[in-house]
């Protein structure tokens, strides 16, 4: 195995209460596309952070081209020839593209030359970019191009990509894969992190599978089925959520010409959104991150008031009502960001139960909160949704992502909503909690509630939605019955390739 580019040998890193990486070993050869596969919390991110010099291992060694490799910082990693595209972009919204690129390079050329190089390389790889535009004005897909171009300008020997496709449409994913295959043909090794099995099967030459910080298997992903990979990754057979067929009832929620400015200077305004949702159905809303998802949720939850008639609940105008009057009428919501938006991190679960439950659960009397009753409500959520916690007096941030998300969704479901709007209900949640949450949403619809599920996870949307629509630059597409849709069609609804084109380099 002398031709290996990078060898990772028994790397271990522990955090209080959790061993993130336990004696992890694997190797990457030049030109190889190597997948790191694992669930949320399996330790993939910690592992690549150690390779990129952001986190120092407790024990274990790394070897680069046969010599010991001990990066003290990302600068060392970049000097060695390792570049990384981050899942949560390492970009600066108020700076322009060229400045962002310069910040990720060790010896950037003067700005003028750099801009020319960006134009040249971005065109060559089919990822067109204007160096003087502010990154804050770019779409999520374009932002990723900035990250990739930043890496490519440094001629990396190893390119680390952390969940790169979560911000791309299916068409864009195809083009990205073309680019990656060409890079690999040029001899660049790629370490590809994902939990999307089909992608890994179509792109990668080898895979290392992590579960709870340990390597549980290595394989050639092209020789395994997605099902086999999933079982290796999760360690158990998962039940697929099922639903009892329910009759679809009358229109409960009617969004009629909703247009709204974003509260955030770099946010996406909503443009003329129309959608009717009937009792008993699940409407899935897909789209790449940053296309108005947060704004749509805020408009429906009442955090961003709009024109009174833009949103009607059972014929009643609610567009200008705040969150609590809407709750009283039966329109409930669960935003994407668990800590800080859906829940207050430093407050107890009892207090977090009162956060949205005061109105419908009658937790207040003349303005005085009945804490005993709030506690009982919190206990009911914990019991019914199998939230793993010692008790309702624990603070929200002491819960794992999956458990807190079950609490947040459970809190709304138990309030018997007529309409429930959720954004990214299973984002960053382990597979078993995700399955529970999806089942809860389906059960809620089966009991006659209307559910709107905004998500960037297309598999999830295909699994639970009756109808599908896509958000693209603040506009919502027509809805289509989910069962009839192909991935190709979904991609086009999400805006297609957004100006990306196939790389012009010869492989």
């Amino acid at each position: 195995m002398n031709e290996q580019l990078l060898i990772v040998d028994r790397l271990t890193k522990a955090y209080p209460g959790v061993v993130a990486n336990d004696a992890v070993s694997f190797g990457v050869a030049p030109g190889e596309v190597h997948a790191l596969l694992g669930e949320n919390g399996a330790g993939k991110s910690t592992l690549v952070k150690m390779i990129y010099g952001l986190v120092r291992p407790d024990s274990g060694t790394m070897t680069w081209k046969g010599a010991p490799y001990e990066p003290g910082s990302p600068h060392d990693a970049r000097k060695t020839g390792i570049a990384m595209v981050f899942q949560h972009f390492s970009l600066f919204e108020a700076l322009n593209v060229a400045e962002n690129v310069a910040l990720g390079m060790e010896d950037p050329p003067p700005m003028g030359q750099l801009a020319a190089r960006i134009r040249e390389v971005s065109t060559r790889y089919g990822l067109p970019l204007d160096p003087v535009r502010l990154v804050g004005e770019l779409s999520a897909g374009e932002r990723q191009r900035v990250e990739i171009i930043r890496c490519l300008l440094q001629d990396p020997k190893l390119l680390i990509m952390d969940e790169p496709t979560s911000v791309l449409t299916p068409q864009e994913v195809e083009i990205l894969f073309e680019t990656l295959r060409k890079l690999s043909a040029e001899g660049t090794a790629i370490l590809y992190i994902s939990h999307k099995l089909e992608e890994i099967r179509s792109l990668c030459d080898a895979a290392t599978i992590l579960r709870l910080g340990k390597v549980v298997g290595t394989c050639d992903p092209r020789e395994k089925s997605a099902r086999e990979l999933a079982e290796l990754m999760v360690g158990q057979t998962l039940h697929t959520p099922t639903r009892e067929s329910a009759d679809v009832g009358d229109v409960v929620l009617d969004i009629d010409g909703l247009s709204l400015e974003s509260a955030n200077p770099f946010g996406t305004p909503l443009k003329n959104i129309n959608l009717k949702v009937r009792a008993g159905e699940v409407v899935g809303i897909g789209g790449v991150a940053g296309n108005g998802q947060d704004e749509l949720l805020a408009a429906l939850s009442g955090e961003l008031p709009s024109h009174p008639t833009a949103i009607r609940l059972r014929g009643q105008d609610v567009g200008d009502l705040g969150p609590n009057p809407r709750r009283a009428l039966g329109l409930l919501a669960a935003p994407e960001e668990r800590l800080g938006h859906a829940a207050a991190p430093d407050m107890s679960l009892t207090e977090n139960a009162a956060l949205t439950g005061t109105i419908r659960e009658h937790l207040a009397d003349n303005g005085f909160i009945k804490w005993g009753k709030a506690r009982t409500f919190a206990q009911a959520i914990i019991r019914d949704f199998d939230v793993r916690t010692p008790g309702p007096e624990n603070v929200a941030r002491s819960l794992s992502g999956g458990n807190l998300q079950k609490f947040v969704i459970g809190r709304e479901v138990l309030q018997r909503p007529d309409v429930l709007v959720v954004n990214q209900p299973t984002w960053g949640v382990d597979a078993s909690a995700a399955a529970d949450i999806r089942q809860a949403l389906l059960d809620l619809a089966a009991k006659g509630a209307a559910v709107i599920c905004i998500s960037q996870d297309l598999d999830e949307l295909m699994e639970i939605s009756d109808r599908f629509a896509a958000l693209n630059e603040g506009r919502l597409s027509e809805t289509r019955p989910a069962r009839e849709l192909s991935i190709e069609e979904i991609g086009l609804m999400m805006g297609g390739a957004h100006g990306m084109e196939v790389a012009h380099v010869q492989a």
């Binding site: 986190v55 910082s73 990302p74 969150p323 859906a342 991190p345 407050m347 624990n394």
Partner: protein, 360 residues
């Protein structure tokens, strides 16, 4: 080097004991400072922290304690409500001055009335004055998104200019031979905030301060508004999601703290200070910021912290007269206390690990 490790939940032990630790550290550092100034550190610390309560002249100092603590607690209770919600009213000193001026002016306008309604009306006037002064930064913030820290602070300087003006102009004692300063309220019984229990230093301001503590405690722990205040401070986005109207909260919190500061000023000027004069205000509005933090923005904590801070004032005066300790040293001691408190506060939310540090 050390490394901080976030605790899964805030430590109850450290939340309660950091103020005590901060006091101990302040005594140590303060002792070093006193030694540097050529004063016996042990004697100084005993004079400041011990003698006023247990010493030979404690009978005199104990009364002083409540007199100083009442305005501090009144102002700090109001401030702590706002601070909890992330609303930074730094201009309590201004609201305190304006409350004093309006309360006193109302009383002096009716000189020499003997009505028993006069004093209650003055109380209302004082609260109203402070409230109005606090409404300026509140309305500017909600209407124009202006920074309330800077506006409320600028208004302190404006209030001080007004105080200087009225004490030598509008409210000057007509029988005062041209000296600046208003009539003395001690000679105006219907408007005088007299001691209810002289030996203990209890006047109407002390009673009001106790009521304010109880009110704030009930508000924060039982009432929806208090929950909204805490929620806004802990997670502003979650508060919006919970249906809190941030503008409303700004107006309410600034209003309460302004009114309480105004009350404190009114009770001070008609009682212990005795008259409107250019320097009747003893920076209580600023010291109350320390009191609010030292009390961990918790009403009971604020009450204890107010008593402790009053002790440094009373003990500082004693140390100035018996040991010749400069007044500025006490001011510095109070500043140190806030510094140490903020420094050790980290223990409530983080564990400290020594040794190997993270890369980068």
């Amino acid at each position: 080097m050390f490394r901080l490790e976030k605790r899964p939940a805030p430590s109850r032990f450290w939340t309660a004991s950091t103020p005590v630790l901060a006091v101990v550290l302040t005594m140590l550092a303060g002792g070093a400072m006193f030694a540097f100034l050529g004063t016996d550190p042990l004697a100084a610390i005993r004079t400041i922290f011990w003698d006023p309560i247990f010493g030979e002249f404690a009978f005199y100092y104990r009364g002083q304690l409540l007199v100083k603590a009442a305005p501090l607690i009144l102002i700090a209770i109001g401030l702590s409500l706002g601070f909890r919600a992330g609303i930074w009213n730094i201009g309590a000193e201004g609201q305190y001055i304006i409350g004093a001026i309006s309360g006193a002016a109302f009383g002096l306008a009716f000189y020499p009335s003997e009505s028993i309604l006069l004093f209650p009306a003055m109380i209302v006037a004082g609260a109203l004055g402070g409230w109005l002064w606090a409404m300026i930064p509140a309305i500017l913030k909600t209407r124009f998104n202006t920074n309330e820290i800077l506006v409320s602070l600028m208004l302190v300087y404006v209030a001080e200019a007004m105080l200087a003006s009225v004490s030598s102009g509008l409210l000057r004692n007509p029988d005062g031979l041209g000296f600046p300063g208003s009539r003395n309220f001690k000679d105006y019984p219907a408007a005088h905030n007299n001691f209810l229990i002289e030996s203990a230093g209890v006047h109407w301001g002390v009673v009001t301060a106790i009521l304010a503590v109880i009110f704030a405690y009930a508000l924060l722990n039982r009432h929806l508004l208090g929950f909204q205040i805490r929620l806004t401070g802990a997670a502003p986005k979650a508060a919006r999601f919970a249906g809190v109207n941030p503008s409303m909260l700004v107006v309410i919190c600034m209003g309460i703290s302004g009114a309480l500061a105004g009350l404190a000023g009114m009770f001070e000027v008609t009682g212990p200070a005795g008259q409107i004069s250019i320097d009747f205000n003893s920076n209580y509005g600023f010291t109350a910021i320390i009191v609010a933090f030292l009390g961990r923005l918790n009403p009971i904590g604020v009450m204890l912290a107010g008593l402790l801070m009053a002790l440094t004032y009373v003990g500082g005066d004693a140390a100035a007269s018996t040991l010749g300790l400069p007044g500025a040293a006490i001011q510095l001691l109070q500043g140190m206390l806030l510094f140490f408190l903020l420094a050790v506060d980290v223990l409530a939310n983080f564990k400290i690990r020594f040794g190997k540090t993270e890369a980068a």
